[in-house]
Structures are given as structure tokens and as C-alpha cells.
Symmetry: C2
Subunit: 338 residues, 2 copies
DNA sequence: TTGTAGGCGTTATCAG
DNA sequence: CTGATAACGCCTACAA
């Protein structure tokens, strides 16, 4: 009971060979119903459990996938992981998680460790501070499927699952315009990440399409925290003509902005509208529920898993799939004028 | 470059044997400095990476630990996982995550799958619906370290890391009393989970210690969602003498309670105080920031990892360690009278 | 239908 | 110091 029983133990107990036991256990057709039954029964009796490690070594498939994210306790990422896990677990895969803390060095380290662990694939969101792409190409060279979700880099052969950030920026901005706002500021992130650049582009195009001239002073690139929101609003409100709305690329920055605006006595949403990004859980529970863009992270995770599965199924073909999900604008109190 | 290179490839290239290569790579003392250097260099040149799978099969140690939680995208759990990962990754361990969705069947399934995958340990929070303990004993029988964090069952040989829920309940209640509340209700969870029972006990004792008679009608066992908060308040406020405060075992229930109280026109915190449990991120950002009990999940995760590490270090001895962390009462607006 | 033998990539034990 | 060999647990041609 205590010791691990192997197919050899079963074989010995039944006076057959391990090969026979293996065949019986795997429903191999070339075996008599009688011995199969016998093997099954004694296997159960001896509490046999297949050693996946041995199987993995033999087959070259570990049935593990690696998931690399900046921080696992950021709701957006944990929801994605949830989606991945729920899609992959029923097929016998396990999910190994790694965190980069937004450091490229950790990202490289993680990838190498996962490769050494012989994962069957790597699903990841690239770190904000990543500039190189050689570690990604390294993965591909080992014929390990690589899927980027949300944050991606342009690497040939890598499939990606993203939301349409351009469209999200466009829709959010258009909505603000429809609410009567005309001086719309945009709080963005580092443009080294495509997501931020695309949200910005959508923002800009929505302005142009609605006859609003683009004002460079209304665009601020910041970090993604509450304090950044405070500072940005301080800066914006000292402009000659301050804005009357903010589309922020981050819920946290938007939160900070709202706090600062309140402090300054600005009335939201009547005099000023705000939209954030990510649909962080807290946005729903704020004094004024915050409008935001839902990125459907669980769906994104499931989709990433599916793309990975296609990849392994057609391992002979090189697939490079680009899935773009539609964003979901959540219109709430901070952008709803009466 | 494309194919995986093994120690045999290196051996062949150097006209030595694989054993020699292995020794060189592992800094085995029985090897000449010259050959070691040579091996190291060509290994680097051929882009050799150790196959951890083979090593795992050989050594019986996979360097993977399994973490089982109800849902990975619940902030409390993802923060714990973050702590575990950060503690274990530097030591070469990988974290495999599984979700139970609060189902016992899934829990059993997860554990078996992890065992088959030859994990070196399992860290978990038991599902709300778990009643059996045989699957836990099964883990111990295989000599795989098992650590419970937060939610535990009484199983001999299992180490646990929890916060002092009794103390947390006591402190929260005492704080409410100090705020002038005397008719304090308690919204609890299923007492099959010790955490809820202990919070209740602390609540009760604090009442007694402060000369407040315990009122059975003030205690309601509910699910842990917002709707449960609505319903509980509805019920409580129809009592002959309704309460003037709530200590809730869940932030979500507390949120629902607050929403319902507002709807009924009850003034918080002046006429009614509320304290939740878990320090969910949203509590800080509510209209009135919510008082709550912080369980220090990242610390809890790190501690769980440390307990696991002790366990593997002393694999010959059976350790059963019970770590109890101090809770951290976060006093915010919903329980601060002027 | 079943047995034999070899191999997945490493490391450990013995010799030499 | 280095080489040969066996072993970890499983699967799969090939042979019987």
C-alpha cells in the first residue's frame, strides 16, 4: 500500500510479462478479454497508478504546459489562467505557472526552465520590459508551440490571442463623444507594448472620425498605478483648456484619476467622464461604478488553450494563427450623463 | 540547433562516454579539470539543456509541487499561489495548479492526477464540499508531503498554515463593540469548514467577554456571495430588535449587506457598522472603504512553501507542523464612527 | 495472444 | 580519472 506499484509488480503477481500488463491497461486490442480483466482487477487491487513521468520520458510528451505571466495575482491574468486550466485539464494537461514580475531576465529564465522541464507548450503574456525576441525563437527552434495572449511581440511562427485593442480604444472614445465630451484625454502605457499603442490609435481615429481635432497635450504615457492617475490629472487640469473626459488604458490609473478629480471638486459624470480598461473587479463596486473595457480574460484563456491544442494536433505543419477577440465595453456610472 | 542534444551527443563529439559528460556537468569531483572544461564548452556550444524529465524518473523527484484551490482567480487564492511560487521557484520547483470549483469529486481527481504526475508535494485549501479524508490519507501513504493552507481538515500527519480565525473574529467583534455597537450580528459560512466555525467562536467570546448576551437570531449561515448579503440583511432587519452591526465572514456578503442597508436607508457607519473578511481588493475602493480582516495571503503562501520544504528536507521524520499566522484587522470607513 | 528486447536521458555503481 | 552497465517505469516493434 505504501510503496508504489509498477506494471512489473502486477506482472509478477499474475505470472505474465510487463508488456502484457501494459497492453491490458492501455486497451490494446491484441489481448484476450480474460487477461485484460484479470490485469485490471489486480491493478485496482494493488492500487496501481501509472507513472506519468516514465510515460513522458518515453513519449517525449510531458502533458504539461507552461504559462508565463507578469503576476499571477493580477485578476486579469489569474482569470486567463483559469480559462486555460479549465480548457486543458479535461484533456489531461497540467498547467505550470511562472511569474516574470515584468522582468525580461525572469522571462528568459522561466522559458528556459519550462523548456528543460519538457513542457508541451508555452502560453504567455510578454513582460513590459522585454525587448529581445531570441528567447521566443529559441522556443520555436525546439518545436515547442508558443502562444502569446494579450501582450505580444512580433515573432514569426508564434500564434497570438488578443482582443482588438484598437477597436476597444475606438469604442470607448466614441462612447465618450456620444456622451457629449469633446476634450478627451488619454492615459496610456508604454508603447513598447502593442496593446497600448493600439488603444491609442483607436482613440485617435475615433476623434478624427468625429471631427474632433487631436490634441497632443491630452495624451500622457504613465505607469499603471493609482498614483499615476493622480499625477496625470494634476497635469491635465493645469492645461489652458483642460479636458472633460479621460479614456485610460488602465483601471488603476482611471481610479487614481477619479480620486484626484473628486479632490479637485470636479463632478463625475456630469462635468467629466472616465473610462478605464480591464474590468478589474473593483470597478463594479466603486462609489460610482466605473465604465471600463472588459477583455473577457477567461475566454481569452480558453481560446489560447484551443490554439495551443490545434498546434499540437498538427505538429507537422507550422501554424501561425492570429485570433482577435472583440472587446466588451462596460458602460457604467462614470460615463453615463443623465 | 533544432534537435535536442543529449549527453550522448556531447560524448560522441568528444570521444568520451556519457558518464563522463554527466560527471563533468554535475561538478563531480572525480574528473579532471581539463575534461570538465572541455565538456562544459562543447555543451554550451551544442546548446545542451538537461532533460529534467529523465532526471525526475531516475531520481524519483519531479521538482514539481501541486497546488489545489477552489478557484484560481479568487484574489485570496491567487495571492497565496503567488507566495508559493516566489518561495519555491528559486529552489528549482515548479508550481502546478488545479481548481476544484468547490467540488469534492474534482478535489479527489486533482489529487490523483498530481500523484500520477509524481509531484514532490501537494499544497492545498480544501473544498467547501469535502467531507471525506481518505484522499488525503492516500497522499500521505505515498509519502508525499501534504500541506493545508487556510481551509483544513483534521487529518493526522498533515501540516497546516492558517490564520488565527478565532482571534480574527474576536478582534473584529471587539472593535465593533468599541465603536459603540452592542447588537452585533454575524454572517457565517458552512461550519463544516473550521475557519467559519472559529470566526464564529471568536465573535461569540468577544461578546461574552464584554458583557453582551449572545443572541442566536443574530447569527446566519449563508453562501459567500453578494445576494446572500442582501437576503441576510432583509431577514435581520425584520427582527424585533434589529442589529446595529455586522461582522461578516466574507467580503462579498458584507458588500451585499451594505448595499441592502443603503437601500433601506440605514446610515453607515453612524447607525450601523460593517466588517468583512479577506481584504478583497475591492473593499478599499468602495464608496465607504470597507473594514475587513486581512489574511496576508502572500505570507500564507510563502509559509506554506516553507513548511513543505522542511517536510522534504526531513523526509525520514514525520512532521506535523501547525503554523498559525496573526490576522490583520483593517479598520476602514464602514466601522469608524466619528 | 503473449514474450523478448530495446530505448526514452540521466545518474550511480563498479570496475579498470 | 574514465568506461561500461544497470536502473528509473513505461511502451512498442518484432518475434514466437
Amino acid at each position: 500500500m505504501n510503496e508504489k506499484t509498477t506494471i512489473y509488480d502486477i506482472a509478477k503477481a499474475l505470472n505474465v510479462t510487463a508488456a502484457t500488463v501494459s497492453r491490458a491497461l492501455n486497451n490494446n486490442p491484441k489481448i484476450s478479454a480474460a487477461t485484460r480483466k484479470l490485469v485490471m482487477e489486480t491493478a485496482a487491487k494493488m492500487n496501481y497508478k501509472q507513472n506519468k513521468l516514465a510515460l513522458a520520458l518515453k513519449s517525449g510528451k510531458s502533458n504539461n504546459v507552461g504559462v508565463v505571466v507578469p503576476y499571477i495575482d493580477r485578476n486579469f491574468f489569474s482569470a486567463i489562467i483559469r480559462g486555460i486550466e479549465e480548457e486543458l485539464y479535461p484533456l489531461g494537461y497540467h498547467v505550470i505557472i511562472c511569474q516574470t514580475h515584468e522582468q525580461e531576465s525572469a522571462e528568459i529564465d522561466n522559458i528556459n526552465a519550462l523548456l528543460n522541464a519538457q513542457v508541451d507548450g508555452i502560453l504567455m503574456s510578454v513582460s513590459k520590459l522585454s525587448t529581445q525576441t531570441s528567447h521566443f525563437e529559441h522556443v520555436l527552434n525546439k518545436n515547442v508551440p508558443l502562444v502569446f495572449f494579450d501582450r505580444k511581440k512580433d515573432v514569426k511562427g508564434v500564434s497570438t490571442v488578443t482582443i482588438d485593442d484598437y477597436q476597444a480604444g475606438y469604442n470607448a472614445t466614441k462612447h465618450l463623444i456620444e456622451q457629449g465630451c469633446s476634450k478627451i484625454a488619454h492615459l496610456s502605457g508604454d508603447w513598447a507594448l502593442e496593446i497600448y499603442k493600439n488603444r491609442y490609435k483607436g482613440y485617435k481615429q475615433a476623434l478624427l472620425d468625429n471631427g474632433i481635432t487631436f490634441n497632443k497635450d491630452y495624451v500622457i504615457k504613465t505607469k499603471s498605478d493609482i498614483k499615476a492617475g493622480h499625477k496625470s490629472v494634476e497635469k491635465l487640469m493645469t492645461l489652458e483648456t483642460p479636458p472633460d473626459a479621460i479614456f485610460s488604458s488602465s483601471d488603476y490609473v482611471a481610479l487614481g484619476a477619479i480620486q484626484q478629480l473628486k479632490k479637485m471638486g470636479v463632478k463625475i459624470p456630469d462635468d467629466f467622464c472616465v473610462i478605464g480598461f480591464s474590468n478589474e473587479p473593483f470597478t463594479k463596486f466603486m462609489e460610482l461604478s466605473m465604465s471600463t473595457v472588459d477583455q473577457l480574460p477567461v475566454e481569452m484563456g480558453k481560446m489560447s488553450a484551443k490554439v495551443f491544442l490545434e498546434q499540437v494536433k498538427e505538429s507537422n505543419v507550422k501554424i501561425e494563427k492570429k485570433v482577435v477577440l472583440a472587446p466588451n465595453l462596460k458602460i457604467r456610472a462614470t460615463s453615463t450623463k443623465k
